[in-house]
């Protein structure tokens, strides 16, 4: 288990890459975009993007905007 931040919330996870993290956090069926440590990670790159202790992950969804 490693400790990371997701959307500024501290949590521990067993995932080792961004794709499995989304499944572990139950985002698998959601339309979301991701960033790791401030850098955009495209959907098809998530499986190749390792998650490490202390990483900061952003998971964003569609929202109203002006």
């Amino acid at each position: 288990m490693i400790s990371i931040q997701v959307n500024s919330n501290n949590l521990t996870c067993k995932s080792t890459n961004l794709a499995t993290l989304l499944v572990e956090l139950e985002y698998a069926d959601s339309i979301v975009a991701t960033a790791l440590n401030g850098e955009f990670v495209a959907q098809n790159n998530r499986v190749n993007t390792p998650i490490q202790q202390g990483d900061k992950v952003e998971i964003l969804a569609p929202m109203q905007g002006g």
């Binding site: 959307n7 956090l25 139950e26 985002y27 959601s30 339309i31 979301v32 975009a33 991701t34 960033a35 401030g38 850098e39 955009f40 495209a42 959907q43 952003e58 998971i59 964003l60 969804a61 569609p62 929202m63 109203q64 905007g65 002006g66």
Partner: protein, 257 residues
């Protein structure tokens, strides 16, 4: 009407999707507005909260183009990363680029805006920059690759209307071939008409509709006002003059002295 990055819009009305009393009222406002474009955004969402997913399903049913924004971004890096995330989610190269520089007025940081616009344009984005009416900044945005300019009318959500008519007129005159969209600050339909009469190509607004007592009715009011301004420009208005000119013919008037 000019194209926007090669896209013809049926109406020159871009409407925001935020701050409506309910999703149903948002949908009704869009129907009555006949808007061609809906602005959308990205925000954090917990996995057990499906509001964002439901919202996206609603927008897809409106049959409009989406224009994602980078609202709330204060740095070039934030805006560029958000733009990439938006492109993936919404499946469009269009991005309404906002780099906010000042909290009280939400005035754009035009230095960061130009830098971000260049990065995104070179990466294949079609950038709609939220900017001021400053000619020099506009010129730098065009040089950075922007083929649309979106000057503010007034600060976001203020409802003040067109704060600098001279500046907008100068922008129109200086960039005759670049589509101009007045984005932000409008509160009343008459202000949208005024903008269109200046030769502005489209109107983008949100708060004036969503915060009206009857958003759907206000959406239709703006649609009619925008259409009125568009028709007036097409009709080639008369030149104003300082002195009176009688509209009723003098010829044939009785001499009654």
């Amino acid at each position: 009407m000019k194209d926007f990055y090669g896209v013809h819009l049926d109406t020159p009305f871009m409407l925001g999707t935020a701050q409506y009393p309910s999703p149903a009222i948002l949908a009704e406002a869009f129907t009555r507005s006949k808007a061609s474009v809906a602005t959308v955004s990205l925000r954090r969402e917990a996995s057990d909260n499906k509001a964002g997913q439901d919202f996206w399903q609603l927008i897809k049913q409106l049959n409009v183009r989406v224009l994602p924004n980078t609202a709330g971004c204060h740095t070039v890096k934030e805006a560029v990363t958000t733009a990439h995330m938006a492109r993936e989610i919404f499946g469009t190269k269009w991005i309404k680029l906002e780099v906010i520089g000042e909290e009280d007025t939400l005035q754009p940081d035009v230095f960061g805006l130009v830098e971000a616009a260049k990065i995104l344009s070179e990466d294949g984005f079609q950038v709609f920059p939220y900017t001021t009416e400053d000619l020099v900044v506009a010129d730098k945005l065009v040089n950075a690759g922007c083929r649309v300019l979106m000057p503010w009318g007034a600060p976001i959500g203020s409802g003040m209307g067109l704060n600098n008519v001279f500046g907008l007129r100068a922008l129109r005159s200086h960039f005759p071939d670049i589509p101009l969209v007045v984005d932000a600050g409008l509160g009343l339909p008459s202000q949208a008409t005024q903008a269109m009469e200046l030769g502005i190509d489209a109107i983008l607004l949100n708060t004036a509709v969503s915060k009206a007592g009857d958003p759907a009715m206000m959406a239709e009011a703006f649609a009619l006002a925008i259409r009125a301004g568009q028709l007036a420009v097409g009709a080639d208005p008369m030149e104003p003059r300082d002195m009176a000119s009688p509209s009723t013919p003098i010829f044939g008037k009785a001499f009654l002295d």
